[in-house]
């Protein structure tokens, strides 16, 4: 009885903590300096959105892609080109940019959908390089110089001097993207994508077109990456080929891994942690990248679920410690069904190939 109360308190505490975090995030422009809002806030939100397109692909589709920054760049550069050089309305230009990124995403997806695992990673790396070299070479897109003065549409204001409007806009987009992807993951299509991730052979035997599902999954993540590209262009008022180099692609991967490749929220967590460190740690250490690499390495080795994974399991552990009987599934998994044996023991020693 007492334990049940404790566990309820804990779960309330967890929810409370989450609420506080959300409230702080919502109040950033009020509570924090303009520099923080613009430098940390805007950057981590756009990095978070491009990272979540990767998290969605890897977590729900089993596809770890390095090509998300390429799609980011397609949308960003086209939007910038259309607004700056052709004088288009910002919203229309953004729409065209995102659509172009989606089209390229369908193409990339169709080509790479036949490959899995490490081959998929390497093929998408090739896509990232092709896109980078293309934009770095073509004068239309400013080559290495990129396109400057790509200001956001008027209602969003000046992202450097008065970033609150831009911040809230990006926050709303982030929430919509998060809810949208989470919704998709529970629809027939999203579940099927996870099925393909788990066992493509079984899915084919159930009547699914495995390659088509992978391609469509890729196509669905493409506009998300594209939106991030547009938002990043607007908040920096510029974009160039350098914004989509291989180093950036690996940075996005790093942020996603640190946050957690299995949970959508991990993308923003990782992006925020990365941006904070990037902004402030560089002040007192020159070896920022080394520390980042070490964190990346430790997370891959120790907790494949990233920061979000660590937090979730810590929460479960706490709850189980405090209120053992209260948590569904905590101590009862392995209940035998009618055909089941009394709980299969876990194999101990492994015959290794050594």
């Amino acid at each position: 009885m007492n334990e049940g109360w404790m566990s309820r308190a804990l779960s309330l505490g967890g929810r409370g903590a989450l609420a506080v975090v959300l409230a702080v995030v919502a109040l950033v422009p009020v509570l924090c300096s303009t520099f923080f809002t613009s430098q940390v806030g805007l950057t981590s939100l756009s990095l978070g959105i491009v990272a979540v397109s990767l998290t969605f692909l890897s977590g729900y589709g089993g596809m770890v892609s390095l090509a998300q920054t390429a799609l980011f760049g397609v949308a960003g550069l086209i939007t910038a080109k259309l607004t700056v050089d052709a004088g288009w309305n910002g919203w229309v230009a953004a729409l065209v940019g995102v659509l172009a990124a989606t089209a390229v995403g369908v193409l990339f997806g169709a080509i790479s959908s036949g490959s899995v695992g490490i081959y998929f990673l390497v093929i998408t790396l090739a896509f990232a390089e092709i896109t980078y070299f293309f934009f770095a070479a073509v004068p239309t897109f400013g080559a290495h110089e990129g396109i400057n003065q790509a200001k956001p549409p008027a209602p969003l204001g000046d992202p450097v001097l008065h970033p609150s409007a831009m911040y809230y806009f990006m926050l709303v987009v982030s929430v919509l993207v998060f809810l949208g992807l989470r919704y998709v993951s529970r629809t027939a299509f999203g579940l099927a994508l996870q099925g393909v991730r788990d066992d493509p052979v079984r899915m084919a035997a159930l009547g699914y077109n495995v390659r088509l599902h992978r391609t469509l999954g890729f196509a669905l993540a493409a506009p998300v990456a594209g939106i991030a590209g547009v938002l990043s262009t607007w908040s920096n008022t510029r974009i160039s080929a350098g914004s989509i180099s291989l180093a950036v692609a690996i940075l996005v991967l790093t942020a996603a891994v640190i946050g957690g490749l299995n949970k959508l929220a991990g993308a923003w967590v990782g992006a925020f942690v990365y941006t904070i460190c990037d902004t402030y740690m560089r002040g007192w250490t020159d070896r920022f990248a080394t520390y980042l690499g070490v964190v990346f390495l430790v997370i891959v080795l120790v907790s494949p679920g990233g920061i979000v994974g660590v937090l979730t399991s810590a929460g479960t552990w706490l709850r189980r410690r405090v209120g053992a009987g209260d948590v569904p599934g905590a101590g009862t998994s392995g209940r035998p069904g009618p055909l089941a044996e009394p709980a299969t023991p876990v194999p101990v020693t492994g015959g290794q190939s050594a």
Binding site: G117, V122, L125, F133, F134, L297, V300
Partner: protein, 340 residues
């Protein structure tokens, strides 16, 4: 595994499957014709384009040599251990910087190159033993681990060797250009030596793999490592050895690149991508494939930057990737890749 391929193989029957290879062959032939026309269209005289063509070809061949040395280590490790070592580029740059440091300390070039190879080999070996060995079979996790390691290595190199591009001075006996004896052309001797080096590495590889017991064990390990182990052979030892040699080759590539081109941050990722493209072109795990891939890459890279029409000249970096796409369209597992 077999049935998994079946589900994907059914996608493109008949006509669709024919379009891509035909297109690839036609495009390749057109490209070759273009190069030949540019080279020989103006005749064979002293004033024609032939002298430039010879120099460009040599540039392509020597670049191919460098790429082969670098990519052979990558393909060796992949073939035997199924590990895609994405820290290969970092090891490459590390080898270059270590060679540079030794030479600056007064060590002769050849000895410095050897020491740099040994050191990178040891670094690779430590990486394998500490981080990769106990993750065998989890290829994606291993790839992420090697990415993390390459980030750390690259930043540490930036800390110790700075961001300014530096080059290694070639050994004295290779310092002055060689007279080619045609069209009164001269060519950097060191680059020719690099090509010879690649041939020596290739030959050594071939001899070891075909003629020695270690080579037989390696081939057996690629076929069926568990069965090899059941015959009393410590396959882990062979794996460790392969990782050492593969990493050492990356280091040798770095020393060569540092001497004929330059060393700078970013070279690690650039050469990792080159080596990956070469290895995928040839088929992952195939040494002959790496040689052919390197040759194709080197020539296409040099010809395209020299012969593309001026308006498109800045697209030359793209062309090697187009080459990759063309080859994969015809043979999805690369030129010599095994279908598994």
């Amino acid at each position: 595994m077999a049935s998994q391929q079946v589900t994907t193989r059914r996608i493109a029957p008949g006509l669709k499957a024919r379009i891509a290879p035909t297109l690839a062959v036609v495009l390749g032939a057109l490209g070759l014709l273009g190069v030949l026309w540019q080279a020989f269209g103006a005749g064979f005289g002293e004033k024609g384009n032939v002298p430039t063509f010879i120099l460009i070809t040599l540039n392509g061949l020597t670049l191919a040599g460098l790429l082969f040395i670098t990519a052979s280590g990558l393909t060796l490790i992949f073939g035997l251990l199924r590990v895609t070592n994405l820290a290969h580029g970092a090891l490459f740059l590390l080898g270059g910087y270590l060679g540079l440091t030794f030479i600056q300390k007064g060590v002769p070039w050849l000895l410095a190159a050897l020491l740099a190879m040994l050191a990178t080999g040891v670094v690779g070996l430590v990486m394998h033993q500490l981080f990769l060995r106990w993750n065998q079979g989890q290829d994606l996790r291993q790839a992420l681990i090697t990415i993390a390691l390459s980030l750390i290595l690259a930043d540490q190199m930036l800390a110790h060797f700075g961001a300014t591009p530096t080059a290694i001075v070639p050994p004295d006996f290779l310092a002055s250009p060689t007279n080619l004896g045609v069209y009164s052309l001269a060519y950097p001797t060191f680059r020719l030596a690099m090509l010879v080096g690649a041939l020596v590495v290739g030959l050594l590889f071939w001899l070891v793999i075909k003629r020695t017991r270690v080579g037989m064990v390696m081939r057996a390990g690629v076929d069926d490592s568990a069965m090899t182990s059941a015959l009393g052979i410590n396959v882990q030892l062979v794996f460790a050895g392969a990782f050492f040699v593969g990493s050492a080759l990356a280091g040798l590539g770095g020393v060569f690149a540092g001497t004929s081109y330059s060393l700078a941050p970013g070279q690690d990722q650039a050469f990792l991508v080159y080596a990956l493209v070469v290895v995928i072109l040839g088929g992952m795990g195939s040494l002959g494939g790496a040689a052919l891939g390197a040759l194709l890459y080197g020539l296409v890279d040099q010809y395209s930057s020299a012969y593309l029409p001026a308006a498109y000249a800045n697209l030359s970096a793209l062309l090697t990737f187009v080459l990759l796409a063309l080859v994969l369209a015809v043979r999805p597992t690369g030129l010599f890749g095994k279908t598994r």
